[in-house]
């Protein structure tokens, strides 16, 4: 009996360990695949071409700069929408809303998170882009701004959900102590609860960034996909082409193993490196902030 228990125990821990290792394995395999398919691009395309400002692959113009900047413009725009809205919503749900309101809001936000991005893209094409074109007097409504608003909408549920969980894990005694010391409700939220949930909140923002920069369908539908180099702030109100939209729209019809194919994978590597950098920075920032916050409150 005890022996059987030990065997099943061993089996289960092995399974769990394998599951843990497998995610590492998958990331490594994906990276290796990306490198294998993408690195030949460096041999086939000169660096000055690869980092030029003209993307027109069928005539061998492989400048990926406009695509990188396009992704950055849309993602930053999305964050400007998602971070304030998301965190304020999370604070409201977790700290201010009465219990019944919380029980309505939380599931609603989670339903929003499950909304397929193609549906949002459709709403963007049919409603938002004509509206923005008229309201802001733009030449076209298919702009980075349209994409940023919709991506913000996609990232908000992620930010709210994770940030709210983080706020919930802050011990009740922290709030009570700060209120007892005479802090107003706002001071307690801004000075105590949010800082002690900081690492979770930053994780929420970073997951939001990940969601925004990796999103494909919506941006492909609403940003116009024109590979223009952004010049200055008004780039937000002009069409852009993102890295993800480029890969998605061109991969399907490119000849396997051609230069164009390799360059598309090189864009994939660039995207991977950006995502990795964001995660590393988030980890470092979150870690440092937490120790400091804890030191303050201990």
């Amino acid at each position: 009996m005890r022996r059987a228990a030990r065997i099943s125990e061993f089996g289960i821990t092995t399974l769990i360990r394998l599951a843990g290792y497998s995610s590492i394995l998958f990331v490594v395999l994906i990276l290796l695949f990306l490198l294998r398919e993408g690195l030949p691009a460096l041999g086939e395309v000169s660096l000055s071409n690869l980092f030029s400002t003209r993307w027109y692959p069928t005539e061998s113009y492989f400048g990926i700069l406009p695509l990188i900047l396009g992704s950055i413009v849309v993602t930053v725009g999305a964050l400007l929408v998602a971070v304030p809205f998301g965190i304020v919503t999370a604070v409201y749900i977790s700290e201010i809303a009465p219990r019944w309101m919380r029980e309505v809001l939380k599931p609603l936000v989670e339903i929003l998170a499950g909304l397929p991005s193609v549906v949002l893209g459709f709403i963007g094409i049919q409603l938002l882009s004509p509206l923005l074109r008229v309201a802001l007097n733009l030449p076209t409504g298919l702009t980075a701004f349209t994409g940023a608003l919709l991506l913000g909408g996609i990232a908000i549920p992620t930010v709210v959900s994770v940030a709210e969980d983080a706020l919930n894990t802050v011990p009740r005694s922290y709030r009570e102590a700060s209120l007892a010391l005479g802090a107003t409700r706002w001071q307690a939220i801004w000075g105590v609860t949010l800082p002690s949930a900081r690492s979770g909140v930053i994780t929420a923002i970073m997951l939001g960034v990940g969601r925004a920069i990796g999103e494909t369908m919506t941006v492909m539908m609403v940003t116009g996909n024109a590979p223009v180099m952004p010049h200055g702030l008004d780039a937000l109100f002009l069409p852009v082409r993102t890295m993800t939209a480029t890969i998605a729209s061109e991969m399907g019809e490119v000849a396997n193993g051609s230069t164009h194919y390799n360059v598309l994978f090189f864009i994939g590597i660039t995207l991977f490196v950006i995502a990795l950098a964001i995660n590393v920075v988030a980890f470092m920032v979150g870690y440092r902030r937490r120790t400091r916050a804890e030191r303050l409150l201990s």
Partner: protein, 303 residues
Amino acid sequence: MPVKFFLAGFILCSIITSCASPAGGPGSQTTPVSPGAYIQNKGSDTIVNLALAWAERYQGEHADVRISVTGGGSGTGIAALINNTVDIANASRKITDQERAEAMKNGIDAVEYVIARDAIAVIVNPHNPVQNLTLQQISDIYSGKINNWAEIGGENRPIVRLSRESNSGTHVYFLQTVIRLGNANDKTLFSTDTLLLPSSEGIIAEVRDNPNAIGYDGLGYITPEVKKIAVAKTAQGPYSLPSVETVNNNAYPVSRDLYMYTGQNPSQAVRDYLKWIIGNEAQQLVVDLGFVPILGSRAGAAP
């Protein structure tokens, strides 16, 4: 629906090509698998959808015939014909004299069949007062030389250029025929701020809603909600609107024939198939896929 179909067709083709290429490309697969007829059909990516649709329908009706359809481009198809590895080559351009001579060297006298036609309509918002444009004006718009509708007799509005993605056959054809005006040495490109939309539906939606927009698309995709521009080769005119009639009498300048080529003595199965292709049933599929059907009486069509 056409986009999905195209995608499905492409995937099918790429599977076929990727399986075929390790075997050594041209010269590899000529062995018939069954006692029934086996037709190899290869070439233009523009036609590949249509060829697939035809092949599917035809095989459904003739269980003893098997047809394999592959893309790869008009040049690939004609090269395969020259090397005698296909029965039918698809091409969205005419065979060149050089290719014809090479085929002759291998004892193949290429026979041409016009199997469908294709028109590209230039479209604007119905509220846009511009009715007519010359090819030169359209070229200048898309290459970024003309940036305001007022420069070509419209309202004072910026021009928003719309195009299909650069790997679409329509995009390449439009670049060569309209933007470069058919001049092979011209290196003009689309202006970088041209919006590249992933679907024909996207182009139609934006043109329908946006009075600044100009777009182009295959005639089959055009809906009544957008306005077709009458196009002329020169400023003297005549300007003509794209339609089945103007394509067939060559009045509309942005149109082309789509071809199939065979050797001088195709097998009976190939002959029957080509005969079926120019018939009513197959030409109805041409309409369904957004191309212009040929008239039954067109010269060079009947084998």
